[in-house]
């Protein structure tokens, strides 16, 4: 307590201490400057009143409290000084404002360092780089390159028109008038240009214009240009995926810097692209689509949709070009669906391979007529129905199996729902609702009309019937090297698949798909030529030609599918514009080219053995000792009764597959002869369905 000596209270009371002894008591005490007779007697003692003492004590206390208060304030202010020192020089918080980072002093050197890894450009500070997209072999399909955006603060502009002129010299693509107008505005921030290259950045910096800044951004580049443009999709100016893989995996690409490896194989993609382009050009098609899929995993190795566009110029692409026919386009699959029909019929046991149906007359049902293209006009065996692509036969076969069974089959094969590949554009198939799936629908769906699915649906279905009977959900992602094999769903018996494989091979050896043959690859497949439906029914002159195939048929590995939209006949196709002439040759070319890329060499050494193993006669005989076919006699006749049937005695031994698992089920159509008049109101327009 260092308070100064207290002063006397008002009223002038002297100090409370013994007076000096010198003056005698009672002697008058003259006051300075006062007349002598005004002297007052000296006081011997000073009386201090009790309230006065209390007031003095209180004042003492107040003074000590004032010092304490001052001390507390000193502490508070020292605390601020300490925190100030901490915040400024001892542990300063590094500013990471975007505005600060973009100021010229903070911009990284404009010249690219020569020792950069070409595959991993450094991310701009504070800017997470979007992950690369590669094909299955690591080839870059999409990559983000660091670039800068050019912006300005017009309030810092000294001479907007001079600045605009200089900027135009450094960056010729600028519109000088527009830049001048922007720089003259009252705003705080105006964009001048995006995607500034480091070289341009250097040139602009050298202009030394105040108020011009760069903002680190990234530019998405697609080094392969057109390859898989619709699959990759694209990003908007802010780097958010807006279509394709970029959109489906947007979050993944932004959060995980590891490259996203697609199942696509760039080499195969290019081959399919070339061959499909050539087929479309040769036959004046308006577009097309190509798919290659691994039938044992569901991985899509190539997905081409034409017309396409350069992924780097997505802004200029038309709606037509951006349309991914492979997954978004819904087409009536046509005769390629007969593979489904025959698989269903055989797998259910309703039809045996040695059965046949009368295809000598068109089927008239309601106001529709189902006829064959270049039909044989006779009884046809099941292999013949597939090889010659008989609509009549397929329709009979489906009716023999039954409507309910067909619907179940289609659902099981995924033909009634979205295909499930990792693309946002997948479309929904068009199929009649269960209430309207009547016999006429059963008949037309048997040969791929009255239902519309995407090409990928067809490929997945083809793969499932050929690979032993397991359906895989298709995927656009490559399997991790150490991942366990993908699991599919068994949809049919192995034995049925074995038979259907032979039928697919038969189409190429003896049927409409001969042009797809590649020696040593044992291609099997099915053509499909569907007339396009319009509002007024089917158009005979606009078709969709498709060929779905699998190779090699002895040990199926890959499904190849090509489709040409609205081909026109030319000389090389002898006036035909059907799938066997338009697409099948291209499929053969594709297989011949991609086979070696996929590590499959043509096997011509064992040609005879493989041919034998895959052989199925067009008119197979009923194996000796087999049970009678459980199919109704109304539609199927035993081969022996058919006049044109070959003698059964020297047919090659046909494995009695259906005998292995005889089915007790009786097709309901056998018991209930169908009256077609009841089906006349069906919603499916199937007028003059001439599928070849």
């Amino acid at each position: 307590m260092s308070a100064p000596p207290p002063k006397g209270p008002p009223g002038g009371a002297p100090e409370d201490r013994p007076p000096p002894a010198a003056p005698p008591p009672g002697a008058p005490a003259p006051r300075f400057g006062a007349p002598h007779d005004a002297s007052v007697p000296r006081m011997e003692t000073v009386r201090v009143t009790a309230p006065d003492l209390a007031r003095r004590a209180a004042l003492e206390k107040t003074r000590s409290r004032l010092v304490i208060t001052a001390f507390c304030f000193a502490l508070l202010f020292l605390a601020i000084a300490g925190k100030l020192a901490l915040a400024t020089i001892i542990t300063p918080l590094t500013p990471h404002l975007p505005a600060l980072a973009s100021r010229p002093s903070e911009v990284p050197p404009a010249e690219p360092a020569s020792d950069q890894q070409p595959l991993a450009p450094p991310a701009p500070p504070g800017h997470e780089q979007r992950a690369m997209i590669t094909d299955r072999n690591g080839e870059i399909l999409a990559i983000s390159l660091p670039t800068a955006g050019l912006y300005a603060d017009p309030r810092e502009m000294i001479d907007p028109s001079d600045s605009a002129h200089k900027l135009k010299l450094a960056l010729p693509r600028l519109d000088e008038a527009a830049v001048r107008e922007r720089l003259s505005s009252e705003k705080q921030f105006v964009y001048l240009a995006r995607q500034i290259t480091p070289r341009e950045q250097l040139a602009i910096n050298q202009l030394g214009i105040p108020g011009v800044y760069f903002q680190p951004t990234a530019r998405r580049r697609y080094p392969q240009g057109r390859a898989a443009a619709q699959v990759l999709g694209g990003v908007d100016v802010d780097g958010h995926g807006i279509a394709g893989v970029e959109r489906f995996f947007d979050q993944r690409l932004r959060e995980d810097p590891e490259p996203l490896r697609l199942s696509l194989d760039l080499r195969i993609q290019q081959v399919v692209h070339e061959e499909l382009t050539r087929a479309i050009e040769d036959f004046n098609g308006i577009g097309g689509c190509g798919l290659v899929m691994d039938v044992r995993t569901g991985e899509v190795l190539a997905m081409v949709s034409l017309p396409d566009y350069d992924a780097n110029e997505a802004g200029q692409a038309t709606q037509e070009q951006r349309f991914n026919r492979a997954v978004t386009g819904m087409y009536e699959p046509g005769s390629t669906f007969k593979l489904q029909t025959v698989s269903m019929a055989l797998d259910s046991g309703a039809v045996n391979i040695w059965n046949g149906f009368d295809a000598s007359h068109p089927i008239s049902i309601g106001r529709f007529t189902i006829s064959d293209f270049e039909g044989k006009k006779r009884f046809l065996y099941v292999p013949e129905i597939i090889a010659y692509s008989s609509n009549i036969g397929a329709a009979h076969m489906a009716v023999a199996a039954g409507t309910d069974r067909q619907r179940e089959w289609m659902a099981k094969m995924g033909m009634l729902s979205r295909i499930g590949i990792e693309l946002p554009e997948v479309g929904s198939p068009l199929a009649p609702p269960a209430s309207n799936w009547k016999e006429i629908a059963t008949m037309t769906i048997a040969f791929g009309h009255g239902i519309a699915v995407s090409p990928l649906h067809v490929v997945v279905g083809t793969a499932a019937v050929a690979n032993g009977g397991v359906r895989f959900r298709p995927t656009i992602l490559a399997a991790e090297p150490d991942a366990k094999p993908r699991e599919g769903t068994r949809v049919m018996q192995q034995t049925t698949s074995d038979t259907v494989r032979k039928l697919m091979r038969l189409v190429v050896t003896d049927g409409f798909g001969k042009n797809a043959e590649v020696p040593g690859y044992y291609v099997g497949g099915k053509t499909g030529t569907a007339e396009k439906s319009t509002r007024h029914g089917y158009n005979h002159n606009s078709r969709v030609d498709a060929f779905t195939s699998v190779f090699p048929m002895n040990a199926p590995r890959y499904a190849v599918y090509l489709m040409v939209d609205e081909p026109k006949a030319n000389a090389s196709s002898h006036g035909y514009a059907t799938a066997g002439w338009v697409v099948a040759p291209s499929v053969g070319k594709v297989i011949a080219r991609i086979g070696p890329m996929l590590g499959l060499l043509p096997d011509t050494e064992h040609a005879e053995e493989i041919h034998q193993a895959l052989y199925i006669p067009l008119q197979p005989g009923k194996p000796a000792g087999s049970h009678p076919a459980p199919v109704a006699a109304a539609v199927a006749r035993p081969d022996l009764t058919h006049p044109g049937s070959p003698p059964t005695g020297h047919l090659p031994a046909w494995p009695p597959q259906q005998e292995a698992a005889p089915r007790p089920s009786q097709p309901h159509d056998a018991a209930q002869p169908h009256d077609p008049r009841h089906e006349a109101q069906t919603a499916m327009p199937v007028a003059a369905l001439a599928d070849r």
Partner: protein
């Protein structure tokens, strides 16, 4: 300023020789620094407020000139005049504060302002210095005369003020007024047991505010949770200090004013820290500390209880306001919007501060014995 003769007995002459000239110089320094900060922050602020920069500058020049005039004008008054002014001010401010509950402008969920043409007024700002003087007089008078229950009346007014501020709600202002009132009681010789009780009570009140008022709780929680990085504003402010370093980026080179909406008001120290650096900020802090410590220690030579209590209340109010502003900008305490006296942009708050400092200067003028306050 012309040199005044010691013999000059005019009002101004007497004032010049009796007023605390050091404090006066310190206040003038603050006002000068206020001009500098206003020039630094004005481009960004003018942009934000949507006024031209020159109009903004003109306005603040006007505010600060008025503030200086108020300080000097009020300091010319006698202690008796101060007392009357404070009583009148306190009454008006109380009425206006009560009126905010009815006719106040609601901003961010609180009714604290009354809209006047040209500016919005926060009456509780004026209540702060006036109540300090009035309560000092009541306490001193109550001690002088046993018939006058000054202490009881002072506590009564305080409770009324507390009720009004709680209703607005303005817990920060309530805390400051409570702290000032407590400081006065403490300086006035409050029993130590009661001091301990009051400190405990304020801790309890703080906990109560935390429980009762969601916005208080969120402030405190954001303050305590370091991972959350407190609010956007405080993080930006701390970055500004870090960016400024020892010597600062230079006048006009700061960026925090571009991103902080309150850069010219509650976060003006961050602008100062970024543009002028730690040393200038320490000098600024030193000026505040000088005013507070000098004001308190000079009272040791004062014997009139009213003057001691009133002046200590005014000084405490001024010092606490400066502390709360700088400490919340520096993330030392939870964020509490409070202006930095004479530095922050703003009309009514700087007037109120000027009023308080004028009262302080008037009360601490050197007087002859017998000058009855």
């Amino acid at each position: 300023m012309p040199v005044l003769s010691r013999a000059d007995t005019s009002t101004l002459g007497r004032w010049w020789w009796t007023v605390d000239r050091w404090t006066l110089v310190a206040i003038a320094t603050l006002i000068g620094f206020g001009y500098v900060m206003m020039l630094a922050a004005s481009p960004a602020v003018a942009e934000r407020i949507g006024q031209s920069r020159s109009l903004f500058i003109l306005k603040q020049v006007g505010f600060l000139a008025i503030a200086g005039a108020i300080t000097i004008g009020v300091s010319l008054l006698s202690p008796r005049g101060i007392r009357r002014l404070a009583m009148a001010g306190c009454a008006i401010a109380l009425v206006l504060t009560a009126a905010t509950l009815v006719a106040g402008v609601e901003i961010k969920g609180a009714r604290r302002w009354i809209a006047l043409p040209g500016l919005s007024l926060q009456p509780s700002e004026f209540l702060k210095p006036c109540f300090a003087v009035v309560s000092a007089w009541l306490i001193a008078e109550g001690r002088r005369s046993h018939r006058f229950h000054g202490m009881a009346i002072a506590i009564g007014i305080f409770l009324l003020v507390a009720l009004l501020l709680k209703s607005q709600p303005d817990i920060g202002m309530l805390a400051v007024i409570t702290a000032v009132f407590f400081t006065q009681l403490f300086v006035g010789g409050l029993n130590l047991a009661l001091v301990v009780l009051a400190l405990g009570g304020s801790a309890g009140a703080g906990a109560g505010a935390y429980v009762l008022f969601p916005h208080v709780r969120s402030r405190v929680e954001r303050f305590l949770d370091h991972a959350a990085g407190d609010s956007y504003q405080v993080t930006r402010a701390l970055e500004a200090f870090g960016n400024g370093g020892l010597l600062g980026r230079g006048p006009g080179e700061g960026h925090v004013k571009d991103v902080l909406p309150d850069a010219h008001a509650d976060f003006v120290v961050a602008v100062a820290g970024e543009e002028f650096g730690m040393i200038v900020c320490l000098l600024l802090l030193g000026v505040f500390g000088f005013i507070v410590l000098r004001g308190l220690l000079r009272l040791l030579a004062e014997s009139d209880p009213f003057v001691v209590l009133a002046a200590s209340g005014l000084v405490a109010s001024f010092g606490l306001q400066a502390f709360v502003n700088m400490a919340s900008t520096l993330h030392l305490i939870p964020t509490k919007g409070m202006t930095l006296p004479f530095i922050s942009y703003g009309g009514s708050s700087v007037m109120a501060v000027a009023l308080g400092m004028g009262m302080l200067l008037a009360l601490t003028r050197r007087r002859h014995h017998g000058d009855v306050p």
